[in-house]
């Protein structure tokens, strides 16, 4: 399986070419290099998928667990070894990696194609594609790595690209600040992950993923403090990258980047790295019930908090950003209750519809002179029909419209597991259900406010074919991708979980209540849509919303939610301001005062002695006399 290495190598090559020679290349050449490398990687991945299926790994589709998990290994060489530590450039692809690789390269390729048109005319066209290519490469390394250090390389690499692309339009300080915020907050999580790595190495003396997964059940007692600590540190790493509570504040600001970046990095792939990490290291989490519970609670809280914030945002990309946080919260919830497959499945569908929503939002914003406020849009249904219909597909999937949308299948699965899985419970399920209502509500609100009603801003340009084609493909997948996995009681099609079964175990469940759960979920979705329709289409003129907003309490709640539950302000007062003021205070370095004091003492002594040297000859003679007197007195 040597072609395995080409998959990350192709985007890397693209990056190198663009980084070294990009400024001398024409835009067309840049586009071909940038998009072409990722498309080629996507093709290779598909070939790999084909081989993978062909090799019988999916025999489990029919329900038989394959005895040994099928995977491809490739050792590219030693990276470094010192003492007991030995780290290699090793790739390891199994079905879990393959799902991620598929999304990264396939959605990545579509977004690259979209970007060739979207970014046209930008001054730093080459830099954009260089960063995007580097991102794809780093993300691929992240999911293909066979050891945690290489994974960490990819992990940090995607962080770097995220930083570079959020601050892509660097002229505005706000963008730079958003980029810094994203990098630093994820870096906090990364540091936790790194400490987790140290702890793991101290315990197991290896950082090879397969070895860790193999050895840890024998090495750690179930629920022992060490494994809980390790799992929690890994979770913290995931929280940072995946914008989960309490490290979620960077993602809404990260929308300062170009829309394709938001689509690829901050919706489809990078932010789900945390999900990948936990799914990959699920054996560690299984050993620690506490860490599992914390993961589930984190997910549940995050999905509610972010969904509430999404309800009141006015910036189209911020709505989508909060919705991304919320959807990843669902994934964490699923991971927390042990439904790893469900989490990955939701990642799979979410990648399509959220990328679609972001790309469509990008197209809308581009058409409306960079207008971000949804209340200054409207009436775009007729003017941008392709965008409207694809956006509708995406929003339906986000709202989990029953049966016809991919989101329904994945989210329904999570809801069910949250309720009935061994680790799950009613509280988690209710939170998820409430989240579903809110999600449906804000999806409806978004769609209605942006596309229906009257036009408030004139359309300046229409998206070209390179923009619409990826939208259409993604819309198609947003609707149909869910058909690979059906709920148990509807159809016995379990292609996706069967595919993953060799890597991720299915959770233990308590049976019963499936139909009721589904009905409740459907009702939740419909209720959300109904309320949204009622409020934002039927009676926008009556203005229930505006009336609400005039009440001080409601306005206060709205502002609270609008500001992301005040987390930003909290962190500002708790960490940022104290840090900044302390460092400002100490800018001149307090230790310098120590030496300044020494200098001052020397100066003072010098001045005292210097005063005796007053230029008067007779004074000096008196000094000599005093000296003689002193010595003689001593002699006496």
């Amino acid at each position: 399986m040597n072609e395995l290495a080409y998959i990350p190598a192709l985007p890397l090559l693209g990056f190198l070419v663009l980084a070294l020679g990009g400024r001398r290349m024409s835009q067309k050449a840049v586009a071909i290099t940038g998009a072409g490398s990722v498309c080629a990687a996507a093709l290779l991945t598909m070939v790999l998928c084909g081989q993978f299926f062909g090799s019988g790994a999916v025999g489990a589709a029919a329900g038989h667990a394959s005895p040994a998990s099928v995977h491809y290994d490739l050792q590219l060489g030693q990276w470094f070894h010192a003492g007991a530590l030995s780290i290699s450039f090793g790739l390891r692809v199994d079905s879990l990696s393959l799902v991620f690789m598929f999304i990264i390269t396939f959605v990545g390729a579509l977004i690259h194609l979209y970007s060739t048109a979207f970014m046209r005319g930008d001054r730093d066209y080459a830099r954009f594609f260089a960063c995007m290519n580097l991102f794809v490469c780093a993300m691929l390394i992240l999911v293909m790595a066979d050891n945690l250090v290489l994974l960490y390389l990819g992990w940090e690499g995607v962080g770097l690209c995220s930083y570079l692309l959020i601050g892509f339009w660097y002229d505005s300080p706000a963008n730079c600040l958003a980029a810094n915020k994203a990098f630093i907050i994820t870096r906090i999580g990364d540091t936790a992950l790194l400490i987790g790595l140290f702890l793991l190495f101290k315990e197991l003396a290896t950082l090879d993923i397969a070895a860790i997964l193999r050895q840890s059940p024998g090495h750690f007692r179930l629920g022992s403090p060490v494994i809980t600590l390790i799992a929690l540190l890994f979770l913290a790493g995931g929280m940072g990258k995946s914008a989960q509570l309490p490290l979620q504040t960077w993602l809404p600001d990260a929308m300062a980047g170009p829309s394709p970046v938001s689509a690829l990095i901050h919706a489809a792939t990078m932010v789900t790295a945390g999900v990948y990490l936990i799914a990959r290291m699920h054996v560690l989490f299984q050993l620690s019930p506490l860490a599992m519970t914390v993961t589930a609670i984190t997910g549940a809280l995050t999905l509610l908090v972010a969904a509430c914030s999404a309800m009141v945002q006015t910036d189209i990309k911020r709505i989508l950003a909060y919705s991304t946080i919320s959807q990843i919260g669902y994934m964490f919830l699923a991971l927390g209750v042990g439904a790893y497959g469900a989490a990955i499945f939701h990642f799979f569908t979410h990648a399509f519809f959220k990328a679609l929503l972001f790309l469509a939002a990008g197209a809308v914003i581009e058409s409306l002179h960079h207008e971000h406020n949804i209340f200054r849009m409207g009436g775009l249904k007729d003017k941008l029909p392709v965008v409207y219909w694809t956006f509708l597909a995406g929003a339906a999937s986000l709202a989990a419209l029953p049966l016809v949308s991919a989101g329904f299948y994945s989210k329904e699965q999570i809801l069910w597991y949250a309720w009935r899985a061994a680790n799950g419970g009613t509280a988690l399920w209710l939170a998820a259900l409430a989240g579903a209502v809110i999600t449906a509500f804000y999806s409806t609100r978004l769609l209605l406010v942006v596309f229906w009603g009257e036009a408030k801003t004139s359309v300046s340009s229409r998206p070209g074919r390179l923009i619409t084609i990826p939208l259409i493909i993604l819309a198609f997948l947003s609707l149909t991708a869910g058909f690979v996995e059906w709920p148990h009681n509807l159809l016995p099609v379990h292609l996706f979980s069967g595919f993953l079964q060799s890597v991720l175990p299915a959770p233990a469940t308590r049976s019963g209540g499936e139909t009721i759960g589904q009905l409740l979920a459907v009702m939740a979705t419909l209720a959300g849509i109904g309320v949204g329709y009622q409020l934002y289409h039927r009676q926008p003129e009556i203005g229930i919303i505006t009336r609400w907003q005039q009440r001080p309490l409601a306005a206060a709640i709205r502002n609270f939610l609008f500001g992301g539950w005040g987390f930003d302000r909290l962190y500002d007062t708790l960490f940022v301001r104290p840090l900044v003021s302390i460092t400002r205070l100490n800018r001149a370095d307090i230790f310098d005062q120590l030496y300044v004091a020494v200098v001052r003492a020397a100066r003072t002594g010098h001045r005292l002695l210097s005063a005796s040297q007053n230029g008067s000859l007779r004074w000096y003679a008196v000094g000599v006399l005093m000296g003689i007197l002193f010595i003689l007195t001593l002699l006496l």
Binding site: R23, Y170, C176, L177, I184, I195, R587, L594
Partner: protein
């Protein structure tokens, strides 16, 4: 003999530079370049020879029989074991005092020597246009500093070591004093006083060792390998070690003793900053590895937790201060404090993995910080300022420099793919089992380093350009890097990435030395 050539070439080159300058002004830099390149060729030949494993010749540097006492000390490595020493050269110098001209090279020395010449080359190149006054004398000082540093890395006679220690100090002092920035006198005096105070304590310690060894064995000698064999009472060992440690801690620098560094770095000319940050600081670390640990194993084990604590304080404190600076070169200088804290942490972890990390860190920090100083120098050449407030938006006018600066900023904040990550990872990993708390605190520096690096990038290269009233947009201020600067930064960039992707040769070279060293501390 080849070791003498390495140092001699630099010394002679320096003198030639000075002499020819009075005769013809333009020649000095070419002579300097030629001598550094010649040295570089020698070193590369050595590197190729020893890395590709035609193998180290069996060099036993251990002294003639009259010095070898049947030692029962636990720390003295058996003289006939496989030695890490690759080349050994000795000649008499002042035999009546037991001073000899002895230079020995092991893997560690070879690595640091290569770094010296590499950065020396870049220092010469980066001052190509910057220095226009008294160029001959400038290159004389630069080459002599380099020679002093190379000598420090090679000397295995304590007197010779001290000699080179001073040789690197005085020309550096002159570099700052004569070609420095506006506040250069203050900075130069501060630098000189700090290092000289430490150096004198070390001289006392060396003399103490000399007399103790002489009294024990009857032979008064400054020879490193002979003194290695002597036993010390615990009290004496503690005090003598503190003497050595004082000099090295000032050079490193460890936090309460670091104050000379920001001033010296920010005021020095670019080449001076590169040599200071890239090489001079390394001599402190080298001294600890070469002298403190082998001479005083028990005493250093006893002090290890405190030393590591000092290292951690340096890491965090340096990072916090770097974050607050408004002067670009001062900012970079404080990052050095932070990074060298990792070195101290790694050395006193006394563990092979961490020690390997230290070796990598020495090189990686030399390259990344040297590069950042080179960039700061280039910016200063264009904008005539070091103030962050007077920069901004430079990415627009100099995209190539911005991108390269981004590379080094990322290297400096310890992103994988660059050498610094490998170093910090190994150090923290190696120290973690024994000193988990310290390592966790040190790890927070990863966040702080992100803070200051990103702040630096934002203030210098991103954001809106500084208003023309503050920084007038002259033609030179708009220029992107030229080919000479491309060579400098490109070489550094390749170096740091290579170190990040393929650090193994470096680690293999240092392995023997480190294993010998850690053998002493294995419990």
């Amino acid at each position: 003999m080849i070791l003498v050539w390495i140092i001699g070439l630099l010394l002679c080159g320096g003198i030639l530079c000075w002499l020819t300058d009075t005769w013809k002004a333009g020649y000095a830099k070419w002579i300097a370049l030629a001598s550094v390149v010649a040295d570089g060729l020698i070193i590369s030949a050595l590197l190729v020879h020893f890395v590709t494993g035609t193998g180290p010749q069996a060099v036993s540097p251990y002294p003639a029989p009259q010095v070898t006492t049947p030692s029962a000390e636990p720390h003295a490595a058996s003289p006939h074991a496989a030695t890490p020493w690759l080349i050994d050269y000795r000649n008499t110098w002042i035999p009546s005092f037991g001073i000899s001209l002895r230079l020995s090279m092991d893997g560690l020395s070879l690595i640091l020597l290569s770094l010296t010449i590499f950065l020396g080359l870049l220092a010469v190149l980066s001052s190509w246009k910057e220095i226009s006054e008294r160029t001959g004398f400038f290159y004389f000082n630069l080459l002599w500093t380099l020679a002093g540093i190379a000598g420090v890395f090679l000397a295995t006679d304590l007197f010779l070591f001290y000699f080179f220690w001073e040789v690197m100090l005085v020309p550096m002092y002159l570099l700052i004093l004569i070609w420095g920035d506006s506040n250069r006198r203050y900075a130069a005096y501060k630098f000189f006083l700090f290092t000289q105070a430490g150096g004198l304590l070390m001289l006392l310690a060396i003399l103490a060792l000399y007399f103790i060894h002489g009294r024990q064995s009857g032979t008064y000698t400054f020879d490193y390998f002979a003194i290695l064999q002597s036993t010390l009472s615990p009290t004496a060992a503690r005090w003598i070690m503190l003497g050595f440690l004082a000099a090295f801690a000032v050079k490193l620098p460890v936090v309460p003793l670091h104050n000379w560094l920001p001033d010296a770095h920010s005021e020095a000319p670019t080449a001076g900053s590169i040599v200071l940050a890239g090489l001079l600081l390394k001599t402190g670390a080298y001294g600890i590895i070469r002298f403190v640990l082998p001479f005083f194993p028990q005493a250093s084990t006893a002090i290890a937790p405190w030393a590591m604590l000092a290292g951690v304080i340096s890491i965090v404190y340096g990072a916090l201060l770097a974050f607050a600076q408004t002067d670009l070169k001062r900012l970079i200088a404080y990052t050095s404090v932070s990074h060298m804290g990792f070195v101290l942490l790694g050395i006193f972890a006394m563990q092979e993995t961490a020690m390997q990390g230290v070796v990598i860190q020495l090189i990686a920090h030399g390259i990344s910080t040297g590069a950042l100083f080179a960039i700061a120098g280039m910016i200063k050449e264009r904008l005539h300022t070091r103030e962050l407030a007077r920069m901004g938006g430079l990415q627009t006018s100099m995209p190539a420099m911005g991108n390269l600066a981004m590379v080094f900023a990322m290297a400096s904040l310890g992103l994988p793919l660059f050498g610094n990550f490998i170093a910090e990872f190994l150090i923290l990993l190696g120290a973690f089992p024994q000193y988990a708390t310290l390592v966790v605190i040190a790890s927070t520096a990863l966040v702080f380093s992100a803070l200051y690096c990103l702040r630096m990038m934002m203030r210098v290269f991103f954001g809106p350009a500084a208003p023309p009233t503050i920084t007038p947009p002259t033609a030179s201020a708009q220029q992107d890097i030229d080919s000479r600067e491309w060579i400098i930064l490109g070489l550094l960039c390749v170096g740091i990435v290579l170190l990040g992707l393929y650090p193994q040769p470096v680690m293999d070279l240092a392995k023997e030395t480190i294993q010998q060293l850690t053998l002493n501390f294995r419990i």
